[in-house]
């Protein structure tokens, strides 16, 4: 017993004590898994409810702007970053002797358990990560029962961007029982699906993503009258939002919304 306690204390002593996260998605993974007091700062984006699913928890911690200078002054012993975080920032921090762990963005639902495990290991919270992975897998299995019929759907974002099968959003759509028309257009991951092509594909449902204040011409494609002129196409409005961005267990909310939408579309047909 005593030996066990000693080894547990050793593990704890081994775990990082001051962790700073400089990426929106590592913020959320760390907020889910970190021990109380272990995480000392998250990014400014995490404080915004438009971008972050965990605004309340995030606002309890001070925000950082992801710059090397301010992160260094927080005296972290571990920095959590994305693989697309500025290389200059990461190499600067490493040169200053700080350990940086980088997390790749999730491109599929199956990446979520991997990221949870990686975060559990980085924070020395393997047991919590394993429990979370088990409940994620169980919830996902319950949600993604195979439907009798798969409606054809398209995801469209600003500037005519769309997500194909090999992206997190595309995988959410697939798991919820939709076929993705972007695949018919030859779009594998994320890319441009021109408005003309989208109209000619005439999907059963168009799911649009937009949740930013202020005007941008980039969003004009979402309001184009050609979309509402399509007979037999249901415009599902603004459904993609912060739940879709990061590979964390909250992405299941997106799957749940899409399953509801599929039932809705089936009822209309």
């Amino acid at each position: 017993m005593a030996a066990l306690l000693v080894s547990a204390a050793l593990v704890l002593a081994d775990a990082p004590q001051r962790v700073v996260s400089i990426n929106l998605c590592t913020d959320q993974l760390a907020l889910l898994l970190a021990a109380p007091g272990q995480l000392v700062s998250v990014t400014r984006l995490s404080h915004e409810d438009t971008d972050s699913v965990m605004g309340d928890q995030a606002r309890a911690l001070p925000a950082n702007g992801s710059g090397a200078e301010e992160v260094y002054l927080l005296k972290p012993d571990l920095v959590l970053a994305g693989t697309f975080t500025s290389m200059a920032t990461i190499s600067m921090l490493r040169n200053l002797g700080i350990e940086v762990v980088q997390f790749a963005p999730a491109r599929a639902l199956s990446d979520v358990p991997d990221r949870l495990a990686q975060m559990g290991e980085a924070l020395g919270r393997e047991a919590e990560a394993t429990a979370m992975i088990d409940s994620f897998n169980a919830d996902l299995a319950a949600l993604s029962a195979a439907p009798a019929q798969r409606p054809r759907a398209a995801l469209t974002y600003v500037n005519n961007y769309s997500s194909g099968r090999h992206s997190l959003a595309g995988d959410v759509l697939f798991a919820a029982g939709f076929d993705n028309v972007a695949e018919e257009a030859g779009l594998g991951s994320v890319g441009v699906l021109p408005l003309e092509q989208l109209v000619l594909l005439a999907p059963d449902v168009i799911i649009q993503g937009r949740n930013y204040p202020g005007a941008a011409r980039a969003e004009d494609n979402l309001d184009h009258p050609a979309l509402s002129s399509l007979k037999g196409t249901y415009l599902a409005g603004e459904l993609t939002d912060r739940d879709w961005v990061c590979g964390t267990p909250t992405v299941l909310n997106a799957v749940r919304t899409m399953v509801d939408l599929r039932r809705d579309v089936e009822a209309r047909q």
Partner: protein, 326 residues
């Protein structure tokens, strides 16, 4: 007369090519059948709601820019005067951006072209005041550069301050112009203002012809210079403002087209006005076809092509007129 017939035919041919050009290759016959179909099929939606307004806007904006360039050059008797170069387009872009970012355009659709028109009006008035009635080339170009730089800087500032993360990226659109994914809403928004502009600028023919003999001679012939100036200012602002509000600033059309057509009309400003309107329409149609053929799914900006054609000509004109630039 022969020139007019040729330009009309050119516009018609380019209009048809524009209608059958798109990201998805479809036969010409099927395209046209869909243009008049009322079955609501996907192809008919593409033809009627995406390609038709795009081709119409190319004609309207091209004609507006062509006639504005010809009118300004006629009035200032200076081949370098052009709405894009002298900052009118940049100012109109700033007006449009302000209307969009303050939410005015969302509350009241006409606020977009009106605000662009107002900003263009201020820019034209400033240019004409600075350059004076004879339009000294050096003053004109320098004043244009200053107004252009100022308006572009404010446009960038406003878009960078926007809470929308995509707003800053559209600086490119306002500076280079594009007709991608425009709809009939934009056609109806711009058309009334452009029509007023065309009528005003089209009515300047006699005055501009008289002006080629000098101001005194024109005055002796009964041309009221103050009236002519007012019609020019409002007409140019209406044309350029409405076009820029819906498609961004498309440069060099008003420079290239009158320059190419001037020898064919014997240097007569009244004939050049209408020829430039047709020529401008043909040029923007051709450029809009070219951007779609070159990079079908990238939304290459029209201004890129225009500058590739227009900037060398601009350099050539500066070289030719350098003796008078002192």
């Amino acid at each position: 007369m022969k020139l007019t017939a040729f330009l009309i035919c050119l516009c018609l041919v380019l209009f048809v090519i524009s209608l059958v050009t798109g990201t998805t290759p479809v036969s010409v016959w099927h395209s046209f059948a869909s243009l008049f179909a009322t079955d609501g099929s996907p192809m008919s939606v593409v033809m009627q709601q995406i390609r038709l307004p795009r081709a119409l806007l190319a004609v309207m904006i091209g004609a507006s820019l062509g006639v504005s360039g010809a009118a300004m050059q006629g009035y200032l008797r200076n081949p370098l005067a052009e709405p894009g170069l002298i900052g009118v387009s940049a100012a109109a872009g700033l007006g449009a951006v302000l209307a969009l970012q303050t939410g005015l355009a969302a509350a009241f659709a006409l606020a977009l072209p009106l605000s662009a028109l107002l900003a263009a009006l201020i820019a034209v008035a400033m240019i004409l005041t600075l350059a004076g009635p004879r339009g000294a080339a050096l003053t004109l170009i320098l004043a244009g550069i200053a107004i252009s730089a100022l308006a572009s800087a404010f446009t960038s500032l406003v878009l960078n301050l926007s809470p929308n993360p995509f707003a800053a990226a559209e600086i490119v659109f306002w500076m280079l112009g594009s007709l991608a994914d425009r709809s009939f809403a934009h056609v109806w928004l711009a058309l009334p203002f452009m029509a007023v502009g065309w009528l005003l600028l089209g009515s300047l023919g006699r005055g501009l012809d008289a002006l080629t003999l000098g101001e005194d001679a024109a005055a002796a012939m009964g041309v009221r210079l103050s009236g002519l100036r007012l019609a020019l200012v409002i007409g140019t602002a209406a044309c350029v403002g409405a076009g820029t509000a819906v498609a961004g600033s498309i440069g060099f059309v008003g420079l290239v087209v009158p320059h190419v057509l001037r020898p064919f009309v014997g240097g007569q400003p009244s004939r050049l006005l209408w020829a430039s309107a047709l020529g401008g329409a043909a040029m923007v149609l051709a450029a809009d076809i070219a951007v779609r053929v070159a990079l079908p799914d990238r939304d290459l900006k029209l201004g890129v092509l225009m500058a590739l054609v227009g900037a060398p000509l601009f350099l050539h004109l500066i070289y030719k007129t350098r003796g008078t630039l002192q």
